[in-house]
């Protein structure tokens, strides 16, 4: 639960103001982007990268940083595999 996982925003979900569809290692999951919205406004766009923590996008990062964190996570081994499995099973819509 301590791992921050990078994902690429695919689309902001219409009808769910706090949710975005995010692609994480090829798997698409809904992620809450409420912490990146101020006064109801977000500057997140498809193609942006975010660091996801327990279902919430916590910060916006650039693509190079996303790749670097993915490398780091891959090195973490089981903990990352478990986290990805948990994320794949998660459905917060």
């Amino acid at each position: 639960m301590c791992l921050g996982i990078p994902g690429e925003v695919v689309e902001l979900m219409a009808g769910h103001e706090d949710l975005a569809m995010v692609s994480v290692e090829g798997v698409q999951r809904a992620v809450n982007i409420g912490l990146l919205r101020d006064e109801g406004v977000t500057d997140l766009r498809p193609g942006d990268w975010v660091l996801i923590h327990v279902g919430f996008a916590l910060s916006k990062i650039d693509e190079a940083e996303a790749k670097a964190s993915l490398d780091w996570l891959t090195g973490v081994g089981d903990a990352y595999t478990d986290e990805l499995r948990a994320l794949a099973a998660s459905d917060i819509t």
């Binding site: 301590c2 809450n32 990146l36 998660s90």
Partner: protein, 375 residues
């Protein structure tokens, strides 16, 4: 030295290593604490201490939220889980953490309905789907996770869900660092500051470390080069007699943190007068509880919670490990009675725990280093 090829930019690492060594004053020893378990993981995995002169040591801090949950709180959570019609939900990391009467896994095997979730929002969904059950989320984590729990409570409130609550165990890193600075056990020269916690709180809350305690602190990323660069920056500060807060991880951590995250934490939660940390004892104003205005979502007010303090097992030396006084392998039960499969202490449970990180990678990298230096 084959082992340096383990990560990219080995040449940069070697260059940093040389520059760090050049800053060492003859005869002086240096000790820096890496506060976050993620850093501990990188340090062991890549054998980073072997890039540093022998006079510099890195010691682990208390920044693994699973590791610091005291036994009594695990027992309280199990007591809630065993009440009628309760579904307890928890992050997977928490499942094997031993309490005085076993772990979530043991209690689940004995019939309690305990489910692993990825996000507190998954717990919320379980509550929506099971209106006849009382769904409790075991909220753990530091400032990185607290905003997610707070957002979930706000969501539950806006949906007027009546069967969802959280058992709040969020702890905060700043008071823990202060407790370590105040403890006489350890003389530190500076801190490698946590990365992800700082995305929420920013760098300002660490300023007292430099100002009041005269210790430099560098917020650091998680890659091997990030950590070496942070050690370098700490050494430069020490050499120049400066102590400041620096942000090595500015590509992710804004100096002011995430204001929205801080705002939702403040809306839903407030400081507890004191909270027990495993191994560190009671630390005042070091944890969060649910504010009265959201008491309908506070498991501590809804359920009877025993609230009994349980002493750590005698054999367990997690406290010393969490304070950086002992290295994992110096604990008497390390790797024998205490392993990731049968943990006695919490530092062996989470992959962020120093003992688990060393168990999984430490010996491995040490052997490789020995082998590499021989050939």
């Amino acid at each position: 030295m084959r082992y340096v090829d383990e990560f990219r930019d080995a040449a940069t690492a070697r260059a940093l290593s040389t520059r760090i060594a050049a800053l060492c004053e003859p005869g002086r020893r240096y000790k820096f604490m890496e506060v976050c378990g993620g850093h501990t993981h990188t340090i062991y995995k890549h054998g980073l201490e072997d890039y540093l002169p022998e006079t510099i040591s890195l010691v682990h801090g208390p920044g693994c939220p699973v590791c610091v949950i005291p036994m009594g709180r695990v027992d309280d959570a199990i007591a809630i889980a065993e009440q009628p019609d309760v579904i307890m939900t928890s992050f997977g990391d928490m499942m094997r953490v031993p309490g005085g009467r076993g772990s979530f896994f043991d209690s689940k095997a004995a019939g309690a309905d305990i489910r692993m979730v990825y996000s507190p929002l998954d717990a919320l969904k379980i509550a929506r789907k099971n209106p006849d059950k009382r769904v409790v989320f075991m909220a753990i984590g530091m400032e990185t996770t607290a905003p997610s729990t707070a957002m979930t409570v706000l969501r539950a409130a806006s949906e007027e869900l009546e069967n969802f609550s959280i058992f709040c165990n969020h702890v905060m890193i700043i008071p823990a660092i202060k407790a370590i600075l105040d403890s006489p056990d350890l003389r530190l020269d500076g801190f490698i500051g946590p990365g992800h916690v700082s995305t929420v709180i920013g760098c300002r809350p660490y300023e007292y470390v430099a100002r009041d305690y005269g210790k430099p602190l560098v917020c650091s990323g998680f890659e091997p080069l990030d950590i070496l660069e942070s050690v370098y920056r700490l050494m430069v500060q020490v050499a120049e007699g400066r102590c400041e807060v620096e942000n090595q991880y500015a590509r992710v951590v804004p100096w002011a943190g995430n204001p929205k995250a801080l705002q939702v934490i403040g809306e839903v939660m407030e400081l507890r007068p004191h909270f027990e940390w495993r191994g560190l004892g009671f630390i005042s104003h070091s944890a969060l509880r649910v504010r009265a205005r959201y008491s309908a979502f506070d498991a501590e007010r809804i359920f009877d919670v025993p609230g009994v303090r349980v002493a750590d097992p005698k054999a367990c030396q997690c406290g010393e490990v969490l304070k950086g006084v002992l290295k994992p392998w110096e604990c008497k039960v390390f790797g024998t009675a205490c392993t990731p499969e049968t943990p006695i202490g919490t530092c062996m449970v989470s992959s962020e725990g120093a003992c688990a990180a060393y168990y999984n990678f430490g010996r491995f990298s040490r052997d490789r280093v020995r082998e590499a230096t021989r050939s």
